[in-house]
Symmetry: C2
Subunit: 250 residues, 2 copies
C-alpha cells in the first residue's frame, strides 16, 4: 500500500464544486470514479487540502489517496489524465510517507483572485476573471491590504455558514499585482475560513471604489462581526493557487 | 430606415457555428432573436462578413442590419449586450451608408490561430488554443510561411466541400508571433476559402514537426490538389480577428 500525493488543476466553471455530492458534477466525484475503474471497481476515497466552491478554479489543489497498485508516479499522471475530462488536469503525482495528509500536513495556502479592469468585457475570460469596469484606486487597495497582514480573528471575513470554532488565521502576504488590464490579488495564509478570500476581495473592492477607507479594514477586523464586511466577490475570479507543505517551501 | 454596422466578439465553444440552422445554438440565431424582440416581433435578418464553424471564435466579426428604430449607436450597443448571453459581446455599432455590405464591402480579413506549446496542457485555455506539446521548429515554419505571400489558386488549401468556383486569393501577410509558450499565426488576406486557414496552419505544423520541408509549400500550391495538404488544424485555436473595409485600414 502506497500513499500518493497529487497536484491537480481544474477549471471550476462546469463543476458544482470540488466536494462530492449526491447529485451534480464534482471534481472529487469524477476523480474517485476514475480511480475506482483503475482499481477494478474497488471504491477509492481521495482527501483534498480543502474544498472549493462551484465556479472556483484550482491551479494547484492537492489531494492524496492510498493504493495497492504498483504504478510509478509518472505513469499515474498519464493514466489519470487519459481517463479524466479535459477540465481536470493532473499536474504531478508523488509517492509520500503514510503520515502525509493533504489537509493536516499543509502549512500554508495561496489563493489568487483575478480582475479584468478593461472597459469592455472579454468573452474569452468571462468564466475566469471578474470583469470590473468601474474606476478603481489601486493605491488605496494596496494600503488597505496591509491591514490584513498578521494574525487575527477573521470572524468578520468569514461566511455565516462557517462551522469552524477557531477563526484565528495568519495572513503572510497580500499582494496586488497589476499587469496591463489584469489586477491579481495574491493572498497567502496559514489557512482560510469559508468564503474568506472572496469577502476580503469584495471588501478591498469597496475600498478601491471609494465606498470605504483603507483604515476601515482595521475596524472591521476588530469588530468580529460578519455584517461589517458585506461584499463577497463572485466565485469565477478565484483560484486555489498553491498548497504548501513542510520542507516544500515552493 | 438606417443601416447599422456591428462589430462582435464571440466565444465559439458553445455554438454550433455562426450561421443559423434549423436546430442548434448559433451566433446568428441568437442575435436575430434579440433583434426581433427589440423590433416588437418583426423578424430582422443580419448579414455577416462570412461564416465561422463550430468552435471557431471571433474577436472582430462584422455584420449589418437595417432598422427603423431611432436608437443611437452607443445605445444599440448597450441594449444588445444587455439582452445577449455572455459568450457574445457587441463591441461597436456604427451607422453606415445603405450601400455598405459586411461581406461585399470587405477588402481584407485577418485570422489568428493560437497554439500553446507548453509541455503540460492548461485547463483554462483548452477551448481557446491548440495544445501542441511536440518539438517544433519555428524558423522552418517562418520560412514556409513566406511561400504563401502573394496571389495564388488555393485549391490545395481549401476543403473539398468548398463550393466557390474562383479559388484565387491573395495573402498579404502571414506572421508567426512567439510570446512565451504561445505561438500565434496571424494571417491577412483578400478572402479565405472554406477551411483555408485551418489547412494552412495544419500544413505549417507538419513543416514545424519536420514531416515536410518549407519548400514543399510551393509544390502543394502549384499542384492545385486538395489531397496534397492533408491536415486541418482543429477549430478551437482559430479566431476571426478583424474584417477591413475601404477607408478603414485599421
Amino acid at each position: 500500500m502506497a500513499r500518493m500525493k497529487v497536484t491537480v488543476a481544474y477549471d471550476g466553471t462546469e463543476f458544482a464544486g470540488y466536494q462530492i455530492q449526491p447529485s451534480g458534477r464534482t471534481v472529487q466525484g469524477i476523480i474517485q470514479s476514475v480511480l475506482q475503474k483503475m482499481h477494478k471497481g474497488e471504491p477509492i476515497s481521495i482527501a483534498a487540502s480543502g474544498r472549493t466552491d462551484a465556479g472556483v478554479h484550482a491551479v494547484g489543489q492537492v489531494f492524496h489517496f492510498d493504493s495497492d497498485l504498483s504504478i510509478y508516479p509518472d505513469a499515474w499522471c498519464k493514466a489519470l489524465n487519459a481517463m479524466l475530462p479535459n477540465d481536470i488536469l493532473i499536474r504531478k503525482v508523488e509517492e509520500v510517507s503514510p503520515s502525509f495528509h493533504s489537509r493536516f500536513s499543509a502549512v500554508s495556502k495561496e489563493y489568487h483572485y483575478k480582475l479584468l479592469t478593461s472597459k469592455q468585457a472579454d468573452v474569452f475570460k468571462r468564466n475566469h476573471m471578474l470583469h470590473y469596469s468601474y474606476a478603481i484606486n489601486v493605491d488605496d487597495i494596496k494600503r488597505a491590504a496591509l491591514f490584513f497582514l498578521g494574525t487575527y480573528d477573521f470572524t468578520s471575513f468569514s461566511s455565516a455558514r462557517s462551522e469552524v470554532a477557531d477563526k484565528v488565521r495568519t495572513i503572510y502576504a497580500l499582494d496586488i499585482v497589476e499587469e496591463g488590464e489584469q489586477l491579481t490579488f495574491q493572498i497567502k495564509g496559514s489557512g482560510f475560513l469559508y468564503n474568506m478570500v472572496r469577502i476580503i476581495v469584495g471588501t478591498l473592492l469597496e475600498v478601491g471604489s471609494g465606498k470605504r477607507k483603507p483604515e476601515d479594514i482595521q475596524h472591521i477586523l476588530v469588530g468580529k462581526d460578519r455584517s461589517l464586511a458585506r461584499k463577497t466577490a463572485p466565485a469565477h475570479g478565484l483560484y486555489l493557487h498553491q498548497v504548501n507543505y513542510q520542507d516544500k517551501p515552493e
